[in-house]
Symmetry: C2
Subunit: 221 residues, 2 copies
Amino acid sequence: MNEPENARKTVTIDIRKDLFGANENAAVLNAENFKAHGVFSLDIMGSVGTGKTQLIEALCERLGKKYRILMFAGDLATTIDADRVAAHGVDTVQINTGTACHLDARMIKVALQKVKLADYHIVFIENVGNLICPAGYSLGVDKKVVVVSVTEGPYMIQKHPLTIKSADMIVINKIDLAEALEFDIDALEADIREVDADLPVFRISSKTGEGIEELIAALSL
Amino acid sequence: MNEPENARKTVTIDIRKDLFGANENAAVLNAENFKAHGVFSLDIMGSVGTGKTQLIEALCERLGKKYRILMFAGDLATTIDADRVAAHGVDTVQINTGTACHLDARMIKVALQKVKLADYHIVFIENVGNLICPAGYSLGVDKKVVVVSVTEGPYMIQKHPLTIKSADMIVINKIDLAEALEFDIDALEADIREVDADLPVFRISSKTGEGIEELIAALSL
């Protein structure tokens, strides 16, 4: 996922195998850790500004009374997202990656060592805002959600088939803006169907709340 | 820029130095190649859906009669962007990176070997849609432009200071949508000023053409 194509040819394949192997090992440990504590975990991926944080806020508002929720926020810098979610009475851990363009399973493993997982029912992991790199790194979660937005223009699905294939479900966010942006949601969903005909797709607005209950039901929460 | 933080500690620093060193060497060769042919080159970076292609189209429309233009389009998949720009009578080369999240100097070096650079005055390079990784790889161009959009939400500058620092100028695109999205452009520009007080900032709409002439003047084209 990470090095430039040419570098891959001239440097070494083994390093990459090692990198991904180490990630997979950590992902398996994370998955076992979540399972052992009966925690439902979600990796929420998507580009900058697709409304990942606002989606988590909408979910926390509706689920916060029924479940104890922990949120990991992945960003290169700032604690903006963690602060926003914390305002809903949810425990948060900000993971600042510095220059790294995605979260990986070892970052989550380290973060999990710093919390008491038994205290929680749900862990929401907001990945770094990037539609490409996070898809290459399993974190060991139950479900991977890719959030796309009507603000991203019409081509984001066609250009990122691997990211779409890596997802367990797609959330089309900010549908309240579709009319103002003259955005064709049906065409976007058709693009998703081209990549994976069976992938669950949810049309939501984290701002207005439209579609959030359907998403919660689909997650069996 | 690319491997996860943890991997960097456990694998090796030398590989990274080698990767970046090889990139820098290729970037120097590209810069010499552009200079030898009197070609002005621009690396256009920015997230998915910020309107990089539409900006290049707007520039080609205005500059196509005065200059011979070549466009390199970097994408994981598809030739959508190159096709759009080619429709303006401009020569294009699509560089599909597969899984790589950015262009690097060696990809450009290979692409330059496939064209007759002496035939052109300007090369526009549209980088892969990603606000993080492309900033770490010099391509050997004259100017690096980062395109942000009012559709990206208010935090993209604060979360990506290194990308902003890597730029020679910032273009705030889609200002025609600011009102509908209730977006505060002054606040965004203030965030840019926090990172770099002297960075040239242009407010444009590639759709309506607003601000494009000012950008062209600033590029001395």
